[in-house]
């Protein structure tokens, strides 16, 4: 009875479960801003705010919606296809939300109201670019990312036409440009290039001191000698390339290509991992055990001169790369080796494709490398974000690759701490195991099933088994894997260029599993299953909540500690882009969801413009008025009363030391004196007039 009385009294005062917003967490810039695609320079996808948390996240409601226009705006000449909407996570910088659309518009939106602040479009004409630079191919399937650089006040989206455009974050003007990233045709020839550079950079550059690091890549099947470039940007008006580190051999071949940096490298050997759990094989061991395995890497066996095939190269880097600001080491996950799935003209381990590479950003020299899949024939690149964190107090790089594995590597040496292979992943058909770097036959395989004499083969998916950004909250790594098996048919080798990829669906189930992994051990803490949808986009963790935007149209909200589903919210269309969290100018924390903007047909419908949607907590004043119903108890019966999310409203009584000043119409004392003097003068004038005798009017 006393309990009931207490509850009855307590409810109106909302003494239960104070809401986090009322708890008034002191917001710092790290909480209010989301600067880069994966939150910060280190790609964690983790906002440390706790205003929106696992106790109130279910109450999120829509605050505003910003619909995107259809794909007709604006048309980019020569682009492969430009899709509507945005596939790039929105940024939040000092109360302004930035969204980069697939059609190259950069939008600044008031995070509080959803009103457009400005809209800046950099107009590209890929036809013109290709005409001017015949060694470049125009591409633009979608805009993948946009980053803000606080020390420079600029915003840079994914780049196009081999040029970087940095916008002033407040007015949108292009204030920083780097042109001719792919060089002129003559320069490219001198670099040993053949084929085509991709013209796009899916991820904006990163900076370290006065250096800007940017990958300039070919595309698998189209050639182009991929490289990482370092630019001196001490004079932002005149950026100068000071180093290039090539990731594939020159067109004329290099028989010892795989040996140059062998003492710094590691291979992931799937067979050895399967057999003994070995996490990495030093390159030097491969060189010792199988000397021929590392010779003539990439060299076209049909070339009598030892040249590379025109289509061979490593594809675009599709993931947030980072620079440790203490060491100056830049970490990048490289694109897949190509062309694929037919690798008949590129035998060998194909360094440095499908790898994680660490370079000194001052010089471009290799610090270490780790190849996740030697002789990749599956498009299993190491795309998506790299994260800098810690394993048992040592700096670690956490990196997922599209073979479905998550690697935790020593940031200083590349030596693996642990490797996580999601147990839910469907493994490719028997006999199609990934190549062993010590097996020359494996490294000469023409396509995944050529060694068993089959053309068609069953594959996990051409886009792999891990197609999303991971998140890291200093304790746990969150990773989303998926199964979406397909049959790949007739891998004929292209004449000159292209990936001969024909896929058909299978009746294998499509599903996704999200894992929370102990960052120190690599062991699973919990897992969450999503049926019927492949997971693409990215995970976000904040306030004890893991946000999972899913292709089935739901935003799943999980307790990040336990994996318990707190709530899910439907958006009516597949979600393929990670959500972001930041505050508007009045410090209201919000969750930003991109819907639509999807550009890859295998994932779901494309061409849906979608919208940018801001979610926030309900206004506290509205909640305060909500009645809480309590059912009557039977006499003598003990009753448990469940109070749902009652909130405590804290009204701060601020004693404001304010003195109020009223500025009023004031006439100064001098004015009064002047008036008196004037009266005296008037009196004198009257006296003089009277005594003058001229006062008799009409005389």
């Amino acid at each position: 009875m006393l309990l009931l009385l207490f509850v009855t009294i307590s409810i109106p005062f909302n003494l239960f479960n104070p809401s986090p917003s009322a708890a008034a967490q002191e917001l710092t810039r790290e909480m209010t801003n989301w600067d880069m695609i994966n939150y910060n320079k280190y790609g964690t996808g983790y906002n440390p705010q706790s205003v929106i948390n696992n106790e109130n996240v279910a109450d999120l409601q829509m605050k505003w919606i910003f619909p995107y226009p259809p794909s007709s705006y604006p048309k980019i000449n020569g682009a492969i296809k430009t899709y509507a909407g945005s596939g790039s996570p929105a940024l939040i910088v000092d109360g302004i939300t930035y969204s980069a659309t697939n059609q190259r518009a950069l939008l600044a939106i008031d995070a509080e109201t959803g009103k457009l602040i400005w809209n800046e479009v950099v107009h590209y004409d890929n036809d013109e670019t290709i005409k001017q630079y015949p060694h470049v191919k125009g591409m633009l399937p979608h805009t993948h990312a946009v980053n803000y650089y606080d020390d420079k006040g600029i915003i840079i989206p994914s780049f196009q036409a081999c040029q970087i455009d940095g916008h002033d974050s407040l007015v949108g003007d292009v204030v920083f440009q780097v042109l001719e990233l792919c060089g002129t045709e003559e320069e490219a020839k001198a670099w040993g290039n053949q084929g085509y550079y991709a013209s796009i950079g899916t991820h904006p550059p990163q900076f370290f001191e006065d250096m800007m690091i940017v990958p300039v890549m070919g595309s698998s099947g189209n050639g182009g000698r991929s490289f990482i470039a370092g630019y001196d940007v001490s004079d932002m008006d005149n950026p100068t390339r000071v180093w290039q580190t090539f990731l594939v051999p020159p067109a004329t071949g290099d028989p010892e290509w795989a040996l140059h940096e062998c003492d710094k490298g590691w291979f992931f050997s799937f067979p050895e991992w399967k057999e003994s759990g070995r996490l990495g094989v030093p390159c030097s061991e491969v060189q010792s055990d199988c000397p021929d395995c590392l010779m003539n890497d990439w060299v076209n066996p049909k070339s009598s001169r030892g040249y590379l095939h025109t289509a061979s190269t490593i594809a675009t880097i599709w993931g947030h790369y980072l620079i440790d600001q203490e060491t100056g080491i830049v970490y990048l996950g490289t694109g897949e080796s190509g062309p694929y799935p037919n690798a008949a003209r590129r035998p060998g381990v194909n360094l440095y494709g499908s790898s994680i590479v660490a370079l000194d950003s001052r010089t471009g020299e290799f610090v270490w490398w780790y190849q996740s899949l030697p002789h990749d024939m599956w498009d299993y690149d190491c795309s998506w974000n790299a994260v800098l964190g810690e394993v048992n107090g040592k700096k670690a790089i956490f990196k997922g690759c599209k073979n479905g594995f998550l690697y935790a590597l020593d940031a200083a040496t590349g030596e693996p701490f642990w490797i996580f292979n999601p147990p839910s992943l469907w493994q490719p058909q028997p006999g199609m195991a990934y190549p062993d770097p010590k097996n020359l036959d494996d490294l000469s395989r023409e396509w995944p099933t050529s060694h068993v004499g089959e053309l068609d083969f069953l594959s996990a998916n051409y886009a792999g088994q891990l197609e999303a950004d991971i998140a890291y909250d200093n304790n746990r790594i969150y990773v989303g894997s998926y199964n979406m098996p397909v049959i790949v048919s007739s891998p004929e080798f292209p004449n000159d260029f292209g990936n001969q990829l024909v896929m058909t669906p299978t009746n294998h189930p499509t599903n996704s599993t999200i894992y929370a992994i102990d960052a120190n051990t690599g062991e699973t803490i919990w897992e969450f299953f999503i049926n019927g949808a492949g997971f693409r986009g990215g995970l976000t963790v904040s306030g004890g909540v893991l946000y999972i935007p899913s292709g089935d149209g739901y935003l799943y909200l999980l307790n990040s500690e336990t994996g318990e589903l707190i709530s899910k919210k439907a958006f009516g269309t597949g979600l393929w882009t990670q959500i972001t969290i930041g505050a508007d100018a009045s410090d209201n924390m919000k969750v930003f969801v991109q819907t639509g903007g999807q550009s890859i047909a295998s994932w779901g419908p494309t061409g849906i413009p979608g919208a940018l949607i801001a979610l926030g907590l309900p206004d506290e004043t509205a909640i305060a008025g909500e009645p809480v119903a309590v059912a009557p108890a039977a006499p003598g019966e003990e009753r448990i009363v469940e109070v749902e999310e009652a909130r405590k409203i804290i009204v701060e009584q601020k004693i404001v030391e304010t003195e109020t000043i009223k500025t009023q119409a004031i006439i100064s004392p001098l004015s009064y004196l002047m008036i008196i003097i004037s009266f005296i003068i008037l009196v004198i004038s009257a006296t003089l007039f009277v005594t003058s005798g001229n006062w008799k009017f009409g005389r």
């Binding site: 910003f66 602040i117 003007d173 009584q653 004037s678 004038s685 003058s692």
Partner: protein, 269 residues
């Protein structure tokens, strides 16, 4: 010794009469300090940069689009510290040791605005949650109360981000000092070209309160009343993507774009 004739006395009396009348009329009609509308300002000492500071400001006109005041109590019935009724007079003057610095600061502020240097423009506003900008009158889509430095940043970003060029002409300037604050009453005529509104011309009655802190004048209260605002293109609001699918391809320089602010909230199932 010269004698004063009747005629002279009459002339002198007439002259004194005129002087007396002019004196009285002139002094009554033009007091030695300008008359302002009743205005409540604060003499709370400046808080260190970045710290919240409480300051009373004049009640802004009701504006549903205006950002919520985070300092406002959640419950109207909750006890708050009422403004004191007492009126404290302080020495008000039209001169100040830093009067010239103020004038040159204002010139630099206008130059930054004219050069569309948003960051420089913002440095003239006090980085404080209580700094306020209020645009009213014929301010169109920009009308509103922008409270706090963050919201003023958005205002400046909106203005300069949509402006291609702007010229600010200050056609009148009057300043009154009270302690470390200066109230500047000015009339501005701004002309230029906007990305969305084309050629524009605006006339503004501006009342700006500047505060001297660390030998720098900073704006703490900036009120612009637009008495005239003419644009080449009509712009009703700033939320326009809803219209994109109705107008087809969108070009920021097209002049037939009509914007609307009719966005509706949609509930999530």
């Amino acid at each position: 010794m010269a004698t004063i004739t009747r005629s002279d006395r009459t002339k002198i009396a007439g002259l004194f009469f005129i002087i007396g009348i002019i004196g009285i009329v002139g002094i009554i009609a033009y007091p030695t300090v300008p008359v302002f509308e009743d205005r409540v300002i604060s003499n709370v000492p400046s808080a260190p940069r970045g710290e919240a500071r409480e300051r009373e400001v004049p009640a802004a006109p009701a504006d549903p689009a205006a950002p919520a005041d985070p300092a406002a109590p959640a419950d109207p019935a909750a006890p708050v510290n009422p403004p004191r009724d007492e009126v404290v007079l302080v020495q008000i003057s039209d001169d100040h040791p830093q009067a010239e610095l103020l004038r040159s600061t204002i010139d630099k502020y206008h130059s930054a605005f004219e050069s569309r240097d948003s960051r420089s423009t913002l440095t003239y506003y006090s980085n404080d949650k209580s700094t306020i900008a209020l645009w009213e009158g014929q301010a169109g889509a920009f009308a509103g109360t922008y409270k706090g430095f963050s919201n003023i940043r958005i205002l400046i970003s909106t203005i300069l981000g949509n402006t291609m060029d702007i010229d600010i002409e200050m056609i009148s300037y009057d300043v009154t000092f009270a302690g470390d604050k200066a109230t500047v009453v000015a009339q501005l005529v701004n002309t230029g070209h906007g990305k969305l509104i084309g050629e524009f011309s605006m006339e503004i009655d501006a009342v700006t309160i500047w505060e001297l802190s660390n030998d720098e004048w900073k704006i703490i209260d900036d009120r612009w009343v637009f008495t005239f605002f003419k644009t080449e293109v009509v712009a009703e609001g700033t939320v326009f993507p809803l219209k994109w699918d109705q107008i087809g391809d969108f070009s920021i320089l097209r002049n037939n774009v009509l914007f609307s602010d009719d966005i509706k909230y949609v509930a999530i199932p």
